[in-house]
């Protein structure tokens, strides 16, 4: 579930068309529009709730997520059903195949999911914004052409397929390049970042081109500012808001990609608590009726993604000037 080109396209155009940050009071106007949309408010609440769970996972988890509790007395398997209490312990969502507390693993799973998604977006921003800015500033010449060609082609790869191909090259688990060891987590962040950076590059290039056409850039150039200065001072400041909006809109798909990779066994590796891995493991226990093993982490992932989708829709709607109500008079 990683490619939603149609959604992205719309987001890109609407975000680039905004020219955010140029009008005073835009933030207020945005808030006014945003809070009218109840669904996006719900999205915001969901996202904040899960953010709190992720941040405070070590505090709110009843057990250590990797601690294995052996099979309860009289049982052969450490898998425990829902709300199972024994000898002073209580497992609200039961335990997994190794006797680890599912609730705690789910909380920590949210934490790793957020770490991964936020990290990936940050790296993707770094790569994409640089590419887009360079391309936009070189508008039309061969540098621009080359960058954008590569960007177009990378976007034409299905994201998950590109990520799998990159993981094929890098290998699974931690990676050694000469003396440097890159942890698995960082490696996955880089892989996801590479697959999403072209989208940021496109947005950034669009915004830069738009900004370059603005009078204040010409004014700065005429006043004798160097190209680099113009790029940083005048353009960059004005491109931050649309890029941030784009980044938040892409959180949902990034989370989906990282969860999918973990589910496929290519992403995070056990024993790290990961919602994707939990779902993968649960498949072996569906036929003995251990539905909660799959359903609990699945609901967590789905709700987080739903939250970001709602938030994203709300953000886009309240920022899109085209949404201004059409009045029937002429």
């Amino acid at each position: 579930m990683n490619d939603k080109p149609e959604v992205d396209k719309r987001q890109e155009t609407s975000v680039t068309q905004l020219g955010l940050g140029k009008h005073r009071g835009l933030l207020e106007e945005f808030w006014h529009n945003y809070k009218k949309n109840k669904l996006s408010l719900i999205g915001g609440v969901i996202v904040i709730t899960f953010l709190i769970i992720a941040l405070f996972a070590p505090l709110i988890s009843p057990y250590n997520p990797v601690e294995q509790f052996g099979a309860p007395s009289g049982e052969h398997h450490p898998l425990r059903p829902l709300s199972k209490g024994e000898e002073g312990r209580f497992f609200l969502f039961g335990t997994d195949r190794f006797g680890r507390d599912i609730l705690s693993r789910t909380f920590f799973g949210c934490r790793t999911l957020f770490e991964l998604a936020v990290g990936s977006i940050a790296v993707a921003l770094l790569i994409g914004v640089t590419m887009g800015a360079v391309a936009g500033y070189n508008n039309g010449n061969w540098i621009d052409e080359t960058i954008m060609r590569v960007v177009d082609i990378m976007i034409s790869f299905p994201t998950l397929v590109l990520a799998i191909a990159l993981l094929g090259a890098f290998g699974i688990g931690k990676m050694k390049i000469g003396p440097i060891t890159i942890s698995n987590m960082i490696k996955i962040m880089i892989v996801i970042a590479i697959t999403y950076s072209p989208r940021f590059a496109r947005v950034m290039r669009g915004v830069v081109l738009q900004e370059m056409g603005e009078d204040y850039v010409d004014a700065a150039k005429m006043a004798g500012a160097s190209s680099g200065r113009v790029l940083v001072n005048e353009i960059f400041v004005n491109t931050i808001p649309p890029i941030i909006v784009q980044a938040s809109l892409m959180m949902a798909t990034t989370i989906l990609t990282s969860a999918s990779l973990s589910f496929l066994g290519l992403g995070l590796q056990p024993p790290i608590p990961s919602l994707g891995i939990m779902l993968n493991e649960s498949r072996d226990f569906l036929f003995i009726g251990a539905w909660w093993y799959a359903v609990i982490p699945g609901l967590f992932i789905s709700t987080i993604i739903l939250g970001f989708n709602l938030l994203g829709d709300g953000l886009r709607d309240s920022l899109d000037p085209k949404q201004a109500r059409k009045v029937g008079h002429k």
């Binding site: 579930m1 990683n2 490619d3 939603k4 080109p5 149609e6 959604v7 669904l39 060609r149 590569v150 177009d152 082609i153 990378m154 034409s156 790869f157 299905p158 994201t159 998950l160 397929v161 590109l162 799998i164 191909a165 990159l166 993981l167 094929g168 090259a169 890098f170 290998g171 699974i172 990676m175 050694k176 390049i177 949902a252 989906l256 969860a259 999918s260 589910f263 496929l264 066994g265 290519l266 994707g276 779902l279 649960s282 498949r283 569906l286 036929f287 009726g289 539905w291 799959a294 359903v295 699945g298 992932i301 789905s302 709700t303 993604i305 739903l306 989708n309 709602l310 829709d313 059409k326």
Partner: protein, 321 residues
């Protein structure tokens, strides 16, 4: 029309070229070089050298590329090194694609059957109950990862309702279409319903956009019947952008089928490429990725053609972007 097809084909070539370079360079990204990675810790220098020359890795990079791409154009994607040692990758791909394409095709049909009518109804009932319900369901549908949806389906249908379906296995096409369809159906529903949420949202917004077009007002002002306006003015024009989206998101179906195949343990290209990644079978990885890109480009081409059939402006104009 023929000229148009040719034009589109030629335009697709540079894309294919650059994509093939990216894919080719991928294996050279492997830290320490692909051969060392494939052989693992046991590295007899003479074995390394042998494998290197066998795979042509001792040649300069550009020669390697030319060798690889020339063979690829002739349908030779190399030999699998770890998964099925010695088997041609092309042969593996053909075996596996039968499953994947069947899954993708079935999913597409299921998705369209759900999405197009729902999108139309939702748009016509804009901001009424039916619209709210289908939008919320679609939003939830977009948000549930399809591997989770697959697991839910297995739980609901496979475990509780229809145990004999046994969602776990796969029957090759040769063992009876009916049985095969039945087993493919569950994965196709999982992938198709997830995809339908995306298409439905697109269809809805395309419909809403078309409903407000001036030519719809013209048709109404001419006293044309509601059904004719819906069919010839609204739906026909709304389908144009939707067809593009369906084409662009063919990659979604291929990516999604990788995940869905894993959920349902189907032996498609998804399973192949994942095993390839685990066992560092670079020719297989390259072959799968290249074939997906080629299929995508072919789908985009056929969408373009279909598009020109739908939209007379393109038919005349030639190129569209």
């Amino acid at each position: 029309m023929g000229v148009y097809v040719l034009k589109r084909l030629i335009l697709a070539l540079p894309t294919l070229f650059i994509a093939s370079i990216i894919i080719f360079l991928l294996i050279h990204l492997a830290p320490g070089g692909p051969v060392r990675v494939m052989l693992g810790p046991m590295q007899d220098p003479s074995l390394v050298a042998k494998l290197r020359s066998q795979l042509g890795l001792d040649l300069p990079l550009h020669q390697q590329y030319i060798r690889w791409i020339t063979k690829a154009v002739h349908g030779n994607l190399g030999i699998s090194v770890t998964i099925q040692r010695g088997s041609p990758v092309t042969q593996l791909l053909i075996q596996r694609y039968a499953t994947t394409l069947e899954l993708a095709f079935l999913s597409m049909i299921i998705a369209l059957i759900i999405a197009i009518p729902t999108g139309i109804i939702s748009a016509l009932q804009q901001n009424k109950l039916a619209d709210h319900i289908s939008r919320v369901v679609a939003l939830i549908g977009v948000s549930i990862p399809n591997f989770f949806l697959g697991i839910i389906l297995i739980l609901l249908i496979g475990v509780i309702w229809l145990k004999p379906w046994g969602a776990g296995g796969f029957v090759p096409l040769t063992e009876g279409i009916g049985k095969n369809l039945l087993r493919m159906l569950l994965p196709a529903i999982a992938l198709g319903t997830a995809y339908s949420a995306i298409v439905m949202r697109m269809m809805r917004s395309a419909m809403l956009n078309t409903i407000n077009q001036d030519y719809v007002r013209t048709a109404r002002a001419m006293g044309i019947g509601w059904w004719s306006i819906l069919r010839k003015d609204i739906i026909k024009n709304a389908l144009i952008p939707v067809v593009t989206v369906i084409g662009n998101s063919a990659g979604y179906l291929l990516g999604g089928s990788i995940v869905t195949e894993t959920v349902f343990r189907l032996p498609g290209i998804g399973a192949l490429v994942i095993t390839g990644v685990f066992r560092r079978d670079f020719p297989v990885i390259q072959g799968v990725v290249l074939s997906i890109v080629v299929i995508r480009i072919l789908i985009n081409l056929s969408v373009d053609l279909f598009y020109s059939f739908l939209d007379p402006r393109i038919r005349a104009g030639g190129s569209n972007e």
